[in-house]
């Protein structure tokens, strides 16, 4: 019964989305208030229907309803409850449904929180979201229905890929998807603005919070994904420049550029056409990112669906959405009024530089990701590009980006003098120079040294920015405190986000100095790595809920003092005939001590074990910095300027009559 209810709710949502795509658009064109008023109602209705549908699928998974094919293929009675729930989106059908649900929640959010928008703009935004949602829901219904039944129903399911049985992966996809899908809202705003033929400061102000919110989720999602691959895959790496990882990095780069260029639209009414293009581009990259993951064009560990019918459908959907929006852009963009030009040394000048550099990095990553598949498609050559390529291309572009990033928040709008800015930043520059010297002494290569110095520079200049605004150390502390309370939260948010970038880069630079050893030892034998002595003291078998494990005990001592005891293990999942390695990590926030248990060799009387030992300096900073960045974004979203004081449109002849 329940799966049918879910299926019906999904079909209902698809119909409502189709209505949502068409009716408000007609209403906005005819200035028909009743038709436009349908938009929020349909968006909320569609959201509720999809939430119901998703709840039905979760219910089927929890109650072990193996007559549902999706549950039978991906779940099992013995699976722990958490993974029964998270397993729902650990497969193709479920993840498409999750994607559609998040999109409908975005539409619902625009309906509920966008009441201060002019109703014609709101109606058009919701209509565009409805159109995209209808496409995805149709895809879900026709080619990958999660509610399809199987007869006869098996007694037990096949269980899911043991690699996915992990708390990190449980929450990684929803957050990443929210990031991807969240950029649908700025996209819808861009399309609505193109239909209206008008972009002004108010538009920039409306679109920015949505872009920032999506950016926060995407940042968190990428950080979590990187953390997952660090501790689950057990290779000691955190970013593999895998096509799927790049597919999330590319919209992140353009999304970051969007978040910054929207400021220029809001404050200076410039860069308008460019911002619209960025909004379209970011969502297009998000969509293509999903497409690349789902279609298996780029083969990688993430591709769990290789079905050509789905690929063709998604390809058509992509062509429609991306091609259609770019066509609309080409037709309407010349009609948008262009903004003023501005001086190179000014806040907006630096924001333009930020956009140029971010888009250059994006272009490089895109080229590196797409070149191998194109070469194999066109010329039949099998080649691949990896970490050396991306290191050699992205880091030289990221370093100037970071240097300018330090200046950005300090430089005034319109016209600025370099000298006062430099005077405020001299100490940050000094600290960065000290860091440069220290790094040169301690590190081997040139790029990590430069990365360290620029990261320190970014962190210090963010601190200098806040200190300057608070008049810290120049006025009494009580005065500074008062200023801190009256300062908009967005200022702290931006400084935090920038400092977060610095922390991430420090973490990456630290990881370039990581040490590792692979050893084969008897129980009781000690090995040295990074000044610590690692002793394998015990290996014993253990039983889990749906696996059996071999657990090792490794004691790590520094000068005879016990630092930590690691318990890496190897799990064997009987139902899938798979083994997974469980990494043991001990962190003191400055470095990770990371141990992996490998194969067992030798005779039973005196076996040897292969161990992989890693010492990863500053590793936790990469994810900590990512979280700080996302938190900074969230802080600027909580600014009261975003919530109250609805911006008013610039008066022009073409004002749509509201009520």
């Amino acid at each position: 019964m329940n799966p049918e209810l879910g299926n019906f709710a999904l079909a209902l949502a698809c119909c409502m989305a189709a209505g949502q795509a068409i009716l408000p658009l007609i209403g906005a064109n005819r200035r028909d208030a009743r038709l436009m008023a349908l938009a929020p109602a349909l968006a909320v209705g569609q959201m509720l229907a999809l939430i119901t549908s998703f709840a039905c699928l979760i219910h089927a998974a929890i109650t072990n309803d193996f007559s549902v094919q999706n549950v039978a293929a991906n779940s099992a009675v013995s699976k722990p409850l958490l993974y029964k729930i998270t397993g729902v989106w650990g497969n193709h059908e479920g993840s498409v449904l999750l994607w559609a649900m998040i999109l409908s929640i975005c539409g619902g959010a625009v309906a509920l929180f966008g009441r201060n928008l002019p109703s014609a703009l709101q109606a058009r935004v919701i209509a565009v979201l409805g159109g995209v949602a209808a496409g995805f829901e149709l895809f879900c219904l026709t080619t990958s229905n999660p509610f399809a039944r199987v007869w006869p129903a098996p007694l037990d399911g096949q269980g899911m890929n043991p690699l996915l049985q992990d708390p990190g992966l449980a929450f990684h996809p929803p957050i990443l998807y929210t990031g991807y899908v969240g950029f649908a809202v700025p996209f819808a705003f861009a399309i609505a603005a193109l239909i209206e033929g008008r972009v002004d400061a108010a538009w920039g102000r409306w679109v920015r919070p949505w872009a920032v919110a999506a950016w926060c989720f995407l940042t968190c999602g990428i950080a979590m994904g990187s953390w997952w691959s660090y501790y689950v895959l057990g290779w000691g790496g955190y970013w593999f420049w895998d096509p799927v990882e790049n597919a999330s990095l590319i919209p992140w780069l353009t999304g970051t550029a969007l978040v910054h260029s929207a400021i220029v639209v809001e404050k200076r009414e410039a860069l308008k056409i460019w911002t619209v293009l960025l909004a379209i581009g970011t969502f297009s990259f998000s969509l293509s990112g999903t497409f690349l993951v789902r279609s298996g064009i780029l083969n990688s560990v993430h591709a769990f669906a290789n079905d050509p019918a789905r690929g063709v459908f998604i390809l058509g959907l992509l062509a429609l959405v991306i091609g259609g929006s770019l066509l609309l852009f080409a037709i309407r963009a010349p009609q948008l009024t262009t903004g003023g030009l501005f001086a190179p040394v000014s806040r907006e000048g630096l924001l333009v530089l930020n956009n140029i550099l971010l888009c250059s990095i994006c272009a490089v990553v895109l080229t590196g990701t797409m070149y191998p598949p194109f070469m194999s498609l066109l010329f039949g050559k099998t080649i691949s590009v990896g970490k050396p390529f991306f290191d050699a291309t992205t880091i030289p572009l990221a370093i100037p980006l970071m240097v300018f990033m330090g200046f950005g928040p300090m430089v005034p709008w319109k016209r600025a003098q370099m000298w006062p800015v430099l005077r405020r930043l001299w100490w940050a520059a000094c600290v960065a120079l000290v860091a440069l010297v220290l790094a040169t002494v301690r590190m081997r290569d040139i790029l990590p040294v430069l990365a360290t110095a620029t990261a320190v520079w970014v962190i210090c200049s963010s601190l200098a920015d806040i200190a300057e605004r608070l008049r810290l150390f120049r006025q009494p502390l009580a005065y500074s405190w008062q200023r801190a309370r009256s300062l908009p939260r967005a200022v702290f948010g931006a400084a935090l986000a920038h400092a977060g970038v610095g922390i991430v880069v420090l973490g990456i630079a630290g990881m370039s100095q990581a040490a590792h050893r692979i050893v084969e030892v008897h129980v009781g034998q000690s090995e040295m790595l990074a000044g610590d002595s690692w002793t394998l003291t015990d290996v014993h078998p253990a039983e889990g809920p749906n696996y059996s494990a071999l657990v090792a005990t490794i004691e790590v001592r520094h000068n005879g003092r016990l630092i930590t005891t690691l318990h890496p293990s190897k799990r064997t999942f009987a139902s899938q005939h798979q083994t997974t390695t469980e990494v043991a990590i001990h962190t003191n926030l400055l470095a990770d001590i990371y141990g992996v248990l490998g194969d067992r060799h030798g005779d039973d009387a005196n076996p040897t074990y292969v161990l992989r030992l890693h010492y990863n300096p500053l590793a936790p900073w990469m994810w900590l910095g990512g979280l700080i960045m996302a938190f900074g974004g969230a802080l600027s979203l909580s600014d009261r300027r975003v919530r109250v004081g609805a911006p008013r449109r610039a008066k022009t002849v073409d004002v749509v009559v509201v009520q």
Binding site: N299, S360, G386, P388, H577, R612
Partner: protein, 177 residues
């Protein structure tokens, strides 16, 4: 500053940004692209010692053995495409799905003595999966043609022993399975 010079500044900044991106990309492409090679190609035309390549093929049954150099385990195995075999040396833990008689991709460099020093060994998280490059190479070497059915069963490669696989490129291909 005039309007014209401001516009010029903007254009120059864009040119520098995208130009340097293009220059970096081209430069990196010339030195950092990793080519896929099959064992017979490695024999026919060994790449320079500093060039990283991806070597793909089937692990020859019975060829996997280990050495121990100063507590570090070294895995040695032969990779074949049915025409020639290359011995791979890999310091590290072989992936969970590494099996004799199944497909594998190793990333690394070719030593002057003709052996392969792998820095990474990839076996996919799926026992029935065969990397695209390996499948393509099997087809080229005449081991398998997609027109005549699906890829040879992994088990049939198990029956192929090191003796069947000439170390040097052979004039005639061994019997297809």
């Amino acid at each position: 500053m005039t309007r014209k010079s401001r516009r010029l500044w903007l254009v120059v900044a864009c040119m520098i940004g995208l130009g340097s991106a293009a220059a970096l990309t081209l430069n990196a492409f010339s030195s950092n692209i990793v080519f896929f090679m099959a064992p017979s190609q490695v024999h026919a035309k060994p790449p320079p010692a500093d060039r990283t390549i991806r070597l793909g093929g089937m692990v020859v049954a019975g060829s996997v053995h280990r050495e121990k150099v100063k507590d570090t385990p070294v895995n040695l195995f032969d990779v074949t495409d049915g025409q020639a075999a290359v011995t791979v040396r890999y310091e590290g833990i072989l992936p969970d799905l590494f099996r004799e008689g199944q497909s594998v991709v190793a990333v690394g460099t070719v030593n002057p003595d003709g052996t392969f020093r792998a820095s990474e060994v990839l076996a996919k998280h799926d026992e029935t999966y065969m990397p695209k490059e390996v499948a393509e190479e099997l087809r080229r070497s005449g081991k398998w043609d997609p027109r005549f059915g699906k890829a040879p069963d992994a088990a049939s490669w198990n029956t192929m022993t090191a003796a069947d696989t000439p170390k040097k490129p052979a004039t005639q291909t061994p019997d297809g399975n």
